[in-house]
């Protein structure tokens, strides 16, 4: 095997990567409805299905930002609709603090967003994703809180590849 520069496809236009934590009972079903209804929305979200918005530990969000996502969306059932009765009420309190804290530390407003989308709101899901994607487009690629340790220089990568061969 010969040492070579890792080839990264040059994209003409930057597209944000957005992680969406969707609760199984409402927002995930809402996303499903948007899909089966053939509603178009930007393909920037990568969905992670969670049992409840209350399952979303703020550390998930921080970790996602560390790993370089450009935006995070957390979506759950409307207040009063939680499958587990109170999960989203607890989540709401946690996110209220997280949002204020992140902005105080200088993470751009809009990098992390929250929404309530029910299983019948396919159109709302598409609208939310469109809004979030537009906002992240305006903000540009995430740089703050991103961990750079694994940005290994290409020369080192090349040396590693040579060693393995």
């Amino acid at each position: 095997m010969t040492a070579s520069e890792p080839q990264v496809a040059e994209t003409p236009e930057w597209e944000p990567k957005i992680v969406a934590f969707l609760c199984n009972w409402c927002s995930y079903a809402g996303a499903d409805l948007a899909g089966v209804s053939r509603i178009q929305y930007p393909a920037n979200v990568r969905v992670i299905r969670v049992p409840c918005s209350g399952r979303v530990n703020p550390m998930f969000i921080l970790r996602a930002l560390q790993q370089g996502v450009d935006g995070v969306l957390v979506s759950g059932c409307h207040p009063g609709d939680c499958h587990y009765l109170t999960g989203n009420y607890h989540a709401r309190r946690r996110f209220a603090v997280l949002k204020r804290l992140l902005e105080f530390c200088g993470i751009e407003e809009g990098r992390v967003q929250f929404s309530w989308v029910s299983a019948s709101e396919g159109q709302k899901f598409a609208d939310v994703v469109t809004d979030v994607t537009e906002k992240i487009h305006q903000l540009g690629p995430a740089t703050r809180l991103v961990k750079h340790l694994w940005d290994v220089p290409s020369s080192v990568l090349a040396a590693l590849e040579t060693d393995e061969s």
Binding site: R93, F95, V97, L101, G106, V128, L149
Partner: protein
């Protein structure tokens, strides 16, 4: 009768009558300006106990480690809030702890006294009203204004007098009224996002992840901390500033509605990270959003362990 004499008498009595197994207080440490935690279980040893402007440690930190024993603990107004917090969270039983509350007008900042004495060794420190008299080993006497010498956090203290004390040690002190929001928080909030990020980066860049802030915090009592978890590995302890930020943000989130602002972490930090700013911000938010202040009432649960149906959610789409 001086406060110290009262303290020693009460401690000896509590131990002698078997009401408590141990008294957690302060004794003179290495040097006139150092007080160190003392654990007294023999009434004859109660005379080692001291209380003055050098007693900066938050002794509530030892309570959950002494669980199962009857403990009397010497607390300032701020430390008392930590004790109430521990009771509220079910870590200690109210009946197992005797609160020896000491009114306090602030504890002194060693950096400020060192600057005042220009590094001279202090042989004796005596408080005379609002003045601190420092007698140096060289024989020289330096006078300092106590307001200038106390920790910056103490200047903004709103709990100078304990409220839940079983025994009050010494006389109540004047409580100046304090602004609702710390001026430093207001200043940083007014900065543009980029400046706030620069400030956060600069402060976090100092951190060496020694976890002293965690060790001295009475609210950080988890046996297994997320920082030590390897499965899942929440946090790697690399030199990347992102990891340091992750630690501090998560630490703050875990202290939401639990941080009482005692300042133990600020004093313990060996590299002077501006932890006070971020703690203050957190406490302001908790007060603003949930109308809650930690450690004032053992009956009211911490805000993240309860909710209200009409909590604000204008930030949610």
């Amino acid at each position: 009768m001086s406060a110290e004499t009262t303290l020693r008498e009460i401690a000896a009595d509590l131990l002698g009558t078997g009401k408590v197994d141990v008294v957690v207080g302060y004794r003179r440490g290495d040097g006139a300006l150092v007080a160190t935690p003392a654990f007294v279980s023999d009434p004859a040893e109660a005379d080692v106990l001291v209380f003055d402007v050098t007693c900066e440690n938050n002794l509530a930190n030892y309570l959950h480690r002494l669980e199962g024993r009857k403990v009397a603990v010497v607390v300032k107004g701020c430390d008392e809030r930590s004790v109430i917090g521990l009771i509220q969270e079910g870590q200690i039983a109210r009946d197992d702890v005797v609160i020896l509350g000491t009114p306090c007008s602030g504890v002194i900042d060693p950096e400020a006294t060192t600057a005042l004495t220009k590094g001279g060794e202090v042989a004796e420190a005596v408080q005379e009203g609002a003045t601190l008299v420092l007698r140096l080993s060289s024989g020289e006497e330096v006078l300092g204004d106590l307001c200038e010498l106390i920790h910056p956090g103490c200047r903004e203290c709103s709990v100078r007098n304990p409220r839940h004390a079983d025994h009050l040690i010494g006389d109540l002190v004047d409580q100046p009224s304090m602004p609702d929001v710390s001026p430093d928080v207001t200043r940083v909030e007014a900065m543009p996002t980029g400046k706030r990020w620069e400030y956060f980066q600069r402060e976090m860049g100092k951190c060496i992840l020694c976890f002293a802030c965690r060790s001295v915090c009475p609210a950080c009592y988890c046996n297994a901390c997320f920082t030590d978890s390897s499965q899942p590995k929440w946090m790697s302890k690399s030199s990347d500033p992102s990891d340091t930020m992750f630690f501090h943000l998560t630490r703050l989130l875990h202290l939401t509605g639990r941080c009482t602002g005692c300042g133990a972490c600020v004093r313990a930090c060996p590299v002077n990270v501006d932890l006070r700013l971020y703690n203050d911000k957190l406490r302001n938010d908790v007060k603003d959003v949930f109308e809650f202040e930690a450690g004032l009432d053992p009956e009211i649960p911490a805000p993240l362990s309860c909710f209200r149906l009409d909590d604000k959610d204008d930030f949610i789409k």
